[in-house]
Amino acid sequence: MMDFLNLILEPLQEVFLTFKVFLPNLLAMIVIVIVGIVLARIVRIILIKSLTAINFDSWSDRMGFTTLMRKGDLWAKPSATLGAIVFWLLVIVTLMIGLSALNIPAIGGLVEQFFGYVPRVFSAAMILIIGYVLAGFISQGVLIAAVNSGYHYSKLLAKAIRTLLMVLILAMAMEQLQIAPSIVLAAFSIIFGGIVVALSISFGVGGIDAARRMIEQETLEKGAAETKDDIEHV
């Protein structure tokens, strides 16, 4: 009878002992998560207040970020959105730290993988942000220069340049995230090459008349421009 009882109690005792060892880790995780969430909330409040103080929302309007958010169906203020992003990033980091405090080998490996991936996510985000601003800056410069040169398809040219740059930047970001890099590279080459080939074919075959008209128009304008200005502007 005693042997039978021992057979039942021993595993229970082992479970209890394991739980006793595990309990401080669990408590540590709960504390880390709670403190982390509280800190994340505080950071969010401070960040939003600081961003409001430096007129981040107006700057975002000017840089086109607000428009981009609206296009993505995000209707919160840019400062509040950035606050929420930082908050959730901190919550995820807190959760990962909390999970690693459990000292479970499988979770430890997962956490290690996560933290190994974070720098890539960060650099991909930086590539996207800087790339977006740069693409906007370059396409705006091209638009203004083309208009001032009297080019008829300025807007189309500026939009094409912006799209090509965004494709390039997206490919760079995905390559950074190592999301099927070979597929991304192949897709990028196909899209980029495809655009160039499509343009050549459509212009060469489908647009013979349009090309003729454009060339004729340019020639006409050059003729008109021969009555050039001798004005000294300064």
């Binding site: 000017r62 800056f137 705006q140 410069g141 638009l143 203004i144 220069a145 083309a146 208009v147 001032n148 009297g150 080019y151 008829h152 300025s154 807007k155 304008e221 008109a224 421009a225 009555t227 050039k228 200005d229 001798d230 004005i231 000294e232 502007h233 300064v234």
Partner: protein, 419 residues
């Protein structure tokens, strides 16, 4: 702020000269074809009008590869007996050297100011090296108000074709006049006279690593003199004829250089210009006479086409800068035919003030912002040309005066929008 370090040979020359009453600075870059005439005219002017003053001609060169410095050094002294009754008492020294610093007219001028300070000059003159119409009288007209009249700054007053100098006429002159309250007709003329005291004041300003060193020196000198209470005059010099400009120089670049320099100065002197109302004439020297001017070709159809292209493609940018009300007015202009096209002066004034405010609020990168003004400027220029095509010079000048008054009367709009 660190002083310029001159080359040893320049130091030696300055040491030998010791002191001077008048410095004539000629900035240059590949002007071998024209600088000889300028040097001769300056020599003759100094000999004729300032025979007993110690004078130095300074050529501050930007690294010319066509032998500009050699031309300055080797230009034979004028045979004064052919043009003067009396021989010059004091010899005229010449210094020609490549300046150091950022390439640009401003760096060239900085070296001239430094030499004026070293030699303790009483009066300085700067003249362009590509001038074909400079005469010895220019030196008298730019120096005498400083030496004998107690003026610190003498701006040029030229007789120009009614269609020339359109950036000056439609933007720089009305804007600086409304801002600083002085009617300096050619604030970016390029040929100026100024006192040694003002040259030393210029050197105290920390601008020599900025765009002022590159391209904004003319408007900077005029504005600095006006905004800091220096005594200002202008001298009528006749016609300004100079070498044909580089045909590749782009209008929007030119507009950017001039307008950004004027807007930049508005930032620094906001407390000075904000309370000024109206304007006052400045003392004018020289005998004004009419000059036969060459015919100027204009192509208003091309200008208006560019204006309409701008309206079609820069819609969002203009809307952001001008606001819905003024943009609607600009849009209405786009629908007019070439024959009936007229850019109202009230609208143009608000356009310039809106651009100044947008520049101040950094609504767009500065270069994009000002270059996006080009089609509007061309629309305004075409409108002026169409209106003034049958006018005589004084009537065209009266139109510019009306525009200036509009800038002055609407200044409140600028002041209240400037935060």
């Amino acid at each position: 702020m660190s002083d310029i370090t001159f080359r040893t040979e320049v130091h030696e020359q300055l040491g030998k000269i010791g002191a001077a009453d008048i410095i004539v600075g000629i900035p240059s870059f590949n002007n071998a074809r024209t600088i000889g005439h300028v040097v001769r005219a300056v020599q003759a002017g100094l000999a004729k009008y300032f025979p007993s003053h110690r004078a130095v001609i300074v050529n501050s060169d930007g690294g010319s590869s066509d032998g500009t410095i050699d031309v300055v050094q080797n230009t034979a002294a004028v045979d004064f007996s052919a043009i003067l009754l009396h021989h010059r008492v004091e010899p005229i020294s010449r210094i020609a050297f490549p300046y150091s610093g950022i390439p640009g007219k401003g760096s060239a001028f900085r070296s001239i100011f430094e030499i004026a300070k070293t030699l303790d000059a009483k009066a300085c003159v700067v003249v362009d090296s590509d001038l074909r119409s400079i005469t010895p009288e220019w030196i008298e007209l730019l120096v005498k108000p400083v030496l004998s009249g107690g003026f610190d700054y003498v701006a040029p007053l030229y007789h120009r074709h009614k269609f020339d100098g359109t950036i000056t006429n439609s933007i720089v002159y009305p804007l600086t006049r409304a801002l600083y309250g002085k009617r300096v007709r050619q604030p970016i003329g390029g040929d100026f006279g100024f006192s040694g005291r003002l040259a030393q004041f210029y050197l105290t300003k920390d601008v020599w690593e900025s765009d002022v060193a590159r391209f904004g020196i003319d408007i900077w000198m005029t504005t600095t003199a006006m905004a800091n209470g220096f005594k200002i005059a202008q001298s009528f010099l006749g016609a300004k004829i100079h070498d044909a400009k580089d045909p590749s120089s782009d209008l929007s670049n030119m507009l950017y250089q001039v307008v950004s320099a004027a807007f930049d100065l508005m930032e620094g002197y906001a407390n000075t210009w904000a309370p000024i109302c109206g304007s006052e004439p400045v003392t004018t020297f020289g005998f004004e006479y009419t000059v036969g001017l060459e015919h100027v070709n204009v192509n208003t159809a091309r200008m208006l086409n560019l204006f309409r292209e701008g309206l079609k493609n820069l819609r969002e940018i203009w809307l952001e800068i001008l606001g819905a009300g003024d943009f609607k007015e600009v849009e209405r202009l786009g629908a007019l035919t070439d024959g009936e096209f007229c850019f109202p002066i009230g609208l143009w004034t608000r356009v310039i003030y809106d651009y100044a405010i947008a520049f101040h609020q950094k609504k767009l990168p500065a270069e994009h912002l000002i270059k996006s003004l080009t089609p509007l400027y061309l629309g305004k220029t075409a409108s002026f040309i169409l209106a003034a095509k049958d006018m005589e010079g004084p009537e065209a000048e009266a139109e510019i005066e009306k525009l200036c008054m509009e800038f002055e009367n609407n200044k409140d709009y600028l002041v209240t929008s400037w935060k």
